[in-house]
Symmetry: C2
Subunit: 456 residues, 2 copies
Amino acid sequence: MAEDLAEPDDEVLDQDRIDAVLQAVEAEDSAGLEALLEPLHAADIADLLEQIGGADRRALLALWSHEIDGDILSEISDAIREEVIEGLSPEVLAEAVRDLETDDVVDILEDLDQPQQLLILGALEDADRFAVEQAMAYPEYSAGRLMQREVVVAPEHWTVGEAIDFLRGADHLPDQFYHVILVDPRMQPQAYVTLGRVLSSPRDVALSTIAEDSFRTVEATEPEADVAYLFNHYHLISCPVVDEGGRLVGVITIDDAMNVLDEEHQEDMLRLAGVGDESSISDRVLETTRQRLPWLFVNLLTAILASMVISQFEEAITRLVALAVLMPIVASMGGNAATQSLTVAVRALATRDLTGANVARVIRRETVVGLLNGVFFAVVMGLVSWVWFGDPTLGLVIAAAMVINLVVAGMAGILVPVMMERAGVDPALASGTFVTTVTDVVGFFVFLGLAALVLL
Amino acid sequence: MAEDLAEPDDEVLDQDRIDAVLQAVEAEDSAGLEALLEPLHAADIADLLEQIGGADRRALLALWSHEIDGDILSEISDAIREEVIEGLSPEVLAEAVRDLETDDVVDILEDLDQPQQLLILGALEDADRFAVEQAMAYPEYSAGRLMQREVVVAPEHWTVGEAIDFLRGADHLPDQFYHVILVDPRMQPQAYVTLGRVLSSPRDVALSTIAEDSFRTVEATEPEADVAYLFNHYHLISCPVVDEGGRLVGVITIDDAMNVLDEEHQEDMLRLAGVGDESSISDRVLETTRQRLPWLFVNLLTAILASMVISQFEEAITRLVALAVLMPIVASMGGNAATQSLTVAVRALATRDLTGANVARVIRRETVVGLLNGVFFAVVMGLVSWVWFGDPTLGLVIAAAMVINLVVAGMAGILVPVMMERAGVDPALASGTFVTTVTDVVGFFVFLGLAALVLL
């Protein structure tokens, strides 16, 4: 029964199995295909569907789609989920979504077009459909969308024995629950008890005496990113969700929070790189091109801006072509130093380590770091330029430009994301382009301007 | 008892409280300080210590250090932990670490220098010290270091009632446990049962009949990053850890895995930006400068390489200065497009969405995306250059260079990280510098080379 995962790559979904699956698909051997897929976890089947090509995927689904269940639908990436759902018969789809907890259905629905949403809602039983529609009434990316509605509660005055008897008699319990939530008569959560404490305590102990010291709730309208932060910061395992009146409406568990945290990280990383919200490498070529183009376009505009700075110094460059050779170095070093500061700042804002309490000190710190590295590279690059072009004054000019640009880089790398955060904009979004525009423009202007003043 | 967290920023550790704390520190009002800090969660006290300046921190600790407990030590970032521990009396330190589970002690020890390690080991009771030393014998960043050694096990043949009676009689149970692990007589885990199932099942039910369908173990020597991936991929809550003989030696819980995942993300993001393994914004200026300098130095070398390409075309630039004005645009667009591909590739490698099964297709995809965006920006930039400098041939030259550089960018952005991964190097590490070197060199060479051929 135990499965040794010392080599997860080899065992879980390896190249051999993928090759065998593709062969079975080509041979239209549906029994063989089933034998290959049956032992796999839903998450691995989803990975397989994502990793094979579109034509293979359609051929596989044609042979095997009646076996698709809700767990697999939950696991596949948004990029191909629509395509997969389109290929399912209404009966298979209905059976698949009926298996799922309502929060998983909501998660699937969110990313679909309306006709597919209606198809899935139509497949649900009335009570589940009502629950899903209620969840969809909460704002996108809110705790209300993330929570599961099935909760395990007990009146505050119950004992361990009463709770156990209630649980044993319960018709339907959530797949996952880690706490018994104690509520008052108005369904307002007051505390919770871990299942471990319930299990290890005698039957006559009052639940309220073994409740956890630390207890938090979130409101259903709260952004899911804030909820994920709370889980990570306070090491929560589950957290009750309440409405404006403080009444219990659901519970969020750590696996959902982990998922959100993962998506937030991905979003930050992709946004910092100017990739927009591209969801995955399984997106189609045209879709990917379309997503990346706007950010490249912004970069083109800022690059043209930097070029306009250069064009102000055409005469200087014509008279001293070494300027054209050296100027990209000043800009490049500034861009790199700025990206360093920026990334640290965006990360610190995301983890809330950068706050009003330390922003002034962090700005000072980044400026000093820029200054120190600026001085170091000024000396190095000054000497290199002197040796290369045999002109000590040129060395001094590039040294001065390097110090100034690296100080500016340190300040811009922190100020731009902090100001974007204050303005309510995600600091990861396009910060990179703004910041390197600053260092390009300043780098070219200071270097060429100083050169024009001093050398010509 | 319930604490409303609708506005966690305002309530948890807000600017007002930090200001009040700093005032109490300045007034040396230790009673006031204690009243302000006592209601805070250990994670928030740690944040406070990180966010205030070094002098304030030392003053605060001088007044309050006897209240520091193990949880706070666990929460503070590595950057200031040594400083905090140095300020503690041996008695306070001993009491603080005795509170902790052994995995938390290991986590603290890992980042300390040897004298401080010995101080902490000396403060532990014999049994705990032995457990910690055993954990430290596993490789760094392995499952063995991450796991807690306290496990809750039951023989395979037990019933629900036997398990409950055992738990009620147990002397010491872990703070957190979510499963009862079923073991055979050689202590090899065979299955596990969620506490929810134990609680909701009648006493005479055999544990083996309510065990989870899906069950995985990890070996103690497995890298923690692989463990975190397993938790995320298979939505695990806890996972038994076994030795080479398959015998149970500990258990890893989801909060530890979430922590590793978070650190892995941070590492990828910082490495992509060339920030090395800088741990936090509370690092000191000199430390930060020292960490960032090597990456800037690598960037300097590559920037000089690109400049050497430019210097081959000094004559062309002297004769047509528009080349100096336009060349940074070609390089910049290539660098940006490459960073986009690279970031998507690094992310996909980290989440294991980019594997042997789809690498050829993804490379093809990135190349086509590069080609399509290349053609688009070739047309735009060709027209802009024509209008700007009144020279249609110059427009054609920059258009051709743009297409070539964006295709190269797409390919380099994916090939470099894939090759680094195959070579066993973290693909996030310095990929950015390699890739943009390629696009700088190719961009300058193709643009200036074509111009020299066609225009002069």
